[in-house]
Symmetry: C2
Subunit: 765 residues, 2 copies
């Protein structure tokens, strides 16, 4: 066999193994005529995209072998799961990873049977698939993942097959422009392969039906050098693809940005026609081209004919092992794409070099007397994290790093930029490691790709707009949940969100910018992979950030403000408080170790300040009332210990919150989240939660608090209403608070700013 | 004045009014020297994009006037709120809408003062802004909104200014391809105007920094004919823009697809330099170019000089009215873009012509004995809705209309398609009114634009992937919440979601396709705009769909399966059940009007079937147990009546669910949503919820149920565990159920499909 004959044989073997996975329970080598008993009762899989995925993989292997090229493979059409599994088996890595699926007839039988079968493996490319960092679920993220994998990986080529269905999605459409954020020196190369097989589930695709010259312009407009590989005759296509890849890899070596437009029939090499209608080359081959194989002898015969068309007897020995020649272009060891350590990033993970965060802490000689902008302090810490971790840490954000006051990072690095730079620009450079693009999808996709290949990072975002990537978060959390159960998947760095410019300080941008609901989306995912932190001041933010940057396999959500808040915890107290996750603020409490009359609980910086202010008002007006102030940093502590690893045992919870005293809980987000976390607690009927109740507009910060009844005055009114006996005796105090609210609002409406005594969010004056 | 002088004067007036809104409390006509007292204490607004928005608007007015062109204006950079408000005031529609903001000096003072001021109006283009259907909040949806507005609006031109920041987002990048889904005969035209002012908040934009020829190719690749208008000298730019628009509107008349690339400096005509650094033409002019006007006399002087540079004395009379000449190119009546009825779609809303849904109902002679695919039945109804409402109803979906079994609609219409069509294609045509594109963002954006301009529609989607548009849903729900408080905004048709291929029937696609969390996102929004329905069978689905299609100003979420489920309700019973929103299923209950021993509650088709199966098992094994089966269709009924308009009074809730008997609630989604809705109810401590607990993979339907403990056997075990006394006496029944689960799982793992007795989701045989 010459090289291309070997590639062809390998391709036929991969196609054979793919069809086998979709259809066969038994008789994997077709050693006997196929019968209904050999066929799976439920046919679940996607054939349509698979032969194309196999074709690309086979050809890339030749390039790897000939050039010693380090490469990974991202299958955008990840529902073509049989393809990825087939390659891992052919390359031997499947049997290394799963020894019971050996590279022989017994193993092939198991390989076929387990696919899309209860107790077996998923039908899509999944965490279980060796060589993959990209789940075949929701579409649109392959190219962003590819670029994320390439950042800080010089020498690596990330081959990314993009389905033409996926190419219609927004995130994918935006991802093409990722090439404006790469640095040829610092980063690896991404090779996009737009695979036009022409159809989605039931429809043609847009990019397959526009004029070819329009598509070429589109790709050139995106900044790529497009090569077209089109046809259906295998021999001609092998030649064309091989020649094209040679040119493409020469381009890459020369620092150019090639991409390939690959046009092949959907379901290529599958049944051409079934029951009188065309199948190959149409949407009908999207899933299983032959749907009634068990019941319909004609379909069964077609399946057998189809599988035999790959000439398995030339490809596998009687023992089921691939004959050596068809593996002639397969690379070995870590160069196998199905065994690349880049695709099991934990293998390459180097812990961050972290400076002592206490060196950045604010001095707090007396709590609650001075103010600091928490994210600005964090910026100093992050600057030195970036400096100490070249090529191992990046910050992503939709053009908000400065706005979120992390500007200190620009003392040590720049914004990544590979387009025109003007003299007036600031902190813009090819080598920059702050990734700013006005696309939360790209920030998320890049970061996922970066983390899954073994590096670390942080995504800073306006709180309201993080909902843009709800769906991507869901998929990543699912990936982590699954990989935790897969021993050979090594832990990767956590995905860290810093949500700033949050709901309570979007008074200037108005209602559309006010939404704390991402937390609700997050806590829907498996307890073992999600963490939510609401540090109330600068030092607790530092402590939480340090903790998150050291963690593995989590999604950490940190909500922290950029506006000045009171310094509440000294550096050591901050560590203690964050380690506990919640605790009593002694200096604000008046229960003196006794059972309190009321608990004022709080989570989030602004709700905490208002709670402290309310406690001060209570000290002033009701000095004999025993008030306990509890601040919650780690939201998951509120859950029962059976529900979440951070959950508090009932006894501790009861000791802190009491079982029978009113708890006024002032919360950053939607109030019912607190109910959802605490409904199993004994004292739950006494917990009254204030939070964002979807009231807002362009106004002042304190007016935002009043609109949602989380302000100090309303909290005091709540105490009067809830503590037995106070309602009757303290009607005047209640009225006074109500009047204070009216006064604050009237002042605001007249002067356009908050009353001096509530401004700057201090309560002591 | 010649025409372009009038346009220039109008532009200067709009710029003057924009600056005034951002800065001034008083002295609107600068009749006295500006002092600190005239300046707002907080300067909140976005100048950078505003002069460009004003420039485009001024020029479009000339075209409207000269050609009598029906047009609306979408400001993608909607944070340029002062622009939209200024035009509405100049065109007179602001004063018509808000009479206290009169078109004179007093009104101008009020106009300035109210902007971004507590108790005033938002800083962004908002529902409060006449002439807008596009909120200036989250970026990326302008072009999709524009196309949605244009569908079925022949004769209308939707001018859409796209900011170059926004252009980096995924949804916007995908939106360009909307032109493959238009029909020149049936639809209006969209005129995209890509406004390159070069900067986001702190960064240059990608499209402003790629070579000009690359950008041209990109636009040609997207299928447009690009015209470039570039410069900063006003006179030259007026001429160029006017000539370009003449050519562009000739193109539109000829059925071509022009677009404009407009390059102007950011903050054009504003301060060139402040404190020694360049401002005009840089990111520094994004918000307020002069930040310290109150404190810094030099800044104050620059502001005055800036405002006077527009020569207000030429533009406004001493009474503050615009002088007639500057309004010489302003259209009148409904042709004013700020007064277009298209931008207040409720004005144009025609109710749908709806056939009697009972004509499509399934006969149910005996409940629980036959099965039907609910969405297939709905498809028949929708087919006739489409037929009866030409140009007034569209269905959107990401290539899933067939997959979701609504295929009957293709008997009356096609999929919209304006690219190449091959002989093998089916149901693809220019005039089609089913919009299928593999982008949930586009489906959502198109539908929003379509609804807000006064038409009706339905978005069908896989349940898991609707999370892709969480953020867009949030913004639309906020829009509706706000418009409900604005008397001049007329009600529009509700946004209807049909979520099918839901979590319980994604056993074949696996974990990535399993997520029922959209409901949690939805119920975070204001109770008065959100509705959630879980019809358990075909007839209840019909009844719910009919109700939703008649409703106004809501977001309706319907979750319904496409797989066969038992027919439970006859047509009339379905109406009764859906009208009540929840109710007892008598034939499955054994409480015979007495207080039950246990309540089996359920919501969602699969949980309902499992609950009915559990009730049957209980009838068989524990015939003396009084079981009440309650099905919930309208999820909002569970909330207290004080929380939601559909909420049930406590007395009714208590009568149905009891206050002290165990309630085993089998729920479609994440279980805590039920707790969140019911935590205020007396009987809440007795409610035990089963639901999706994030367990899944590629397996069988019944195994999915078992993985999450919502299966019939586990429900019976729950009853044994929860009903006092049964734990001791019925240990054998519990064991039997547990064995049944093991047997079901073993069978599945061996045979690859469910046990016959649980297959097809029937419980009686």
């Amino acid at each position: 066999m010459d090289t291309l004959e070997k590639v062809d044989a390998y391709w036929r073997a991969a196609n054979y193994l793919s069809v086998g996975q979709i259809y066969l329970l038994d008789n994997p080598l077709l050693t006997e005529p196929l019968t209904a008993a050999h066929i799976k009762p439920r046919l679940l899989g996607h054939w349509g995209t698979t032969p194309g995925l196999n074709f690309v993989f086979a050809h890339l292997n030749r390039v790897i072998t000939e050039r010693g090229q380090d490469m990974i493979y991202i299958a955008g059409p990840g529902h073509g799961g049989p393809a990825a599994v087939a390659h891992a088996w052919l390359e031997g890595s499947y049997s290394e990873t799963y020894p019971d699926v050996s590279q022989d007839a017994a193993g092939m039988r198991r390989l076929f049977r387990q696919f899309s079968f209860p107790g077996g493996i998923p039908s899509h490319v999944a965490p279980e698939t060796p060589g993959s960092i990209h789940e075949g679920g929701e579409l649109g993220y392959s190219l962003a993942h590819a670029y994320g994998a390439a950042f800080d990986n010089p020498g690596l080529v990330v081959a990314c097959v993009i389905g033409d269905g996926e190419a219609e999605t927004g995130p994918l459409a935006a991802s093409w422009h990722s090439n404006k954020f790469t640095d040829p020196e610092r980063d690896g190369a991404v090779l996009p392969i737009l695979h036009l097989n022409g159809y989605k589930i039931a429809n043609p695709t847009v990019l397959s039906r526009i004029p070819a010259e329009e598509l070429t312009k589109l790709m050139e407009g995106y900044g790529y050098r497009p090569y077209t590989v089109e046809g259906e005759d295998p021999a001609a296509m092998h030649k064309l693809m091989a020649d094209t890849l040679d040119a493409v890899f020469d381009d890459i070596a020369a620092g150019l940005q090639p991409m390939i437009i690959l046009r092949t029939p959907k379901g290529w090499t599958g049944p051409k026609e079934v029951d009188g209608v065309p199948v190959e080359g149409t949407w009908r081959s999207h899933q299983v081209p032959l749907a009634s194989v068990r019941e319909n002898p004609a379909h069964l015969a077609m399946l057998e004919q189809w599988m035999r068309s790959y000439r398995p007897e030339e490809l596998f020995g009687a023992d089921g092992r691939p004959v050596p020649e068809i593996l002639g272009t397969v690379p070995s060891g870590d160069l196998r794409m199905s065994a690349s350590p880049h695709a099991n990033g934990g293998k390459l993970l180097r812990p961050l070099v972290l400076p002592d965060f206490r060196d950045y802490a604010v001095d707090v000689p007396s709590p609650g007397t001075a103010t600091t902008e928490p994210t600005r302090v964090l910026g100093g810490f992050l600057r030195d994290v970036m400096a100490a971790n070249e090529a191992n840490f990046r910050i992503m954000g939709p053009d908000e790093t400065d706005s979120n006051r992390l500007s200190a990072v620009f003392d040590t690095t720049d914004r990544a930029w590979n387009a025109q730079i003007l003299p007036t620009d600031q902190h813009l450079a090819r080598g920059g490691r702050v990734m700013e693009v006005l696309s939360e999808h790209l920030c998320q996709g890049w970061l996922e790709g970066y983390l899954l290949t073994g590096r670390h990072g942080l995504f800073n975002c306006y709180e309201a707009f993080i909902h843009i990537i709800d769906a991507m978060f869901n998929q990543h959390a699912k990936w982590l949940s699954t990989t935790r159960k897969i021993p050979w998947r090594r832990p990767v760095a956590s995905l860290n969100y810093l949500l700033s410019s949050h709901v309570w300080r979007q008074d200037h941008n108005g209602f559309s910018h006010q939404d704390p609901g991402f937390l609700d989306v997050v806590v829907n995912k498996k307890a073992e992979v999600v963490r939510v932190y609401l540090p109330p001041d600068a030092n607790t933010l530092l402590s939480v950030a340090d903790h998150c940057l050291r963690s593995r396999d989590y999604v950490n959500v940190i909500v922290a403000g950029k506006q000045p808040v009171l310094d509440l915890f000294g550096p050591d107290e901050a560590i203690t408080h964050c380690t506990r996750g919640l605790g009593i603020i002694d200096w604000a409490s008046t229960d003196a170790g006794e059972e309190p009359d009321v608990v004022l609980a709080c989570a989030g910086d602004v709700p905490t300040l208002e709670t402290l202010a309310a406690a001060a008002l209570l000290r002033e007006h009701l000095p004999s009332l025993r008030v306990r102030v509890v601040n919650v940093v780690d939201l998951m502590r509120l859950q029962p210990s059976a529900e979440h690893p951070h959950g508090m045992p009932d006894a501790e919870f009861d000791a802190l919150f009491t079982t029978d005293r009113p708890v006024i809980f002032n919360f950053h987000g939607y109030p019912w989240l607190i109910h959802r976390l605490t409904y199993r607690r004994t004292g739950h009927p006494n917990i009254h939660v204030r939070g964002y109740k979807e009231e807002g507009t362009t106004t002042t910060p304190f007016d935002m608090a009043m609109l949602n009844d989380i302000d100090r005055y309303h909290l005091v009114m709540d105490v009067v209403d809830r503590v037995p006996g106070l309602g009757a005796t303290q009607a005047h105090l209640r009225q006074r608070m109500s009047d204070a609210r009216l006064r604050a609002r009237a002042y605001t409406r007249e002067h356009g700013e908050d009353l001096p005594e509530v401004r700057d969010w201090t309560w002591s004056h």
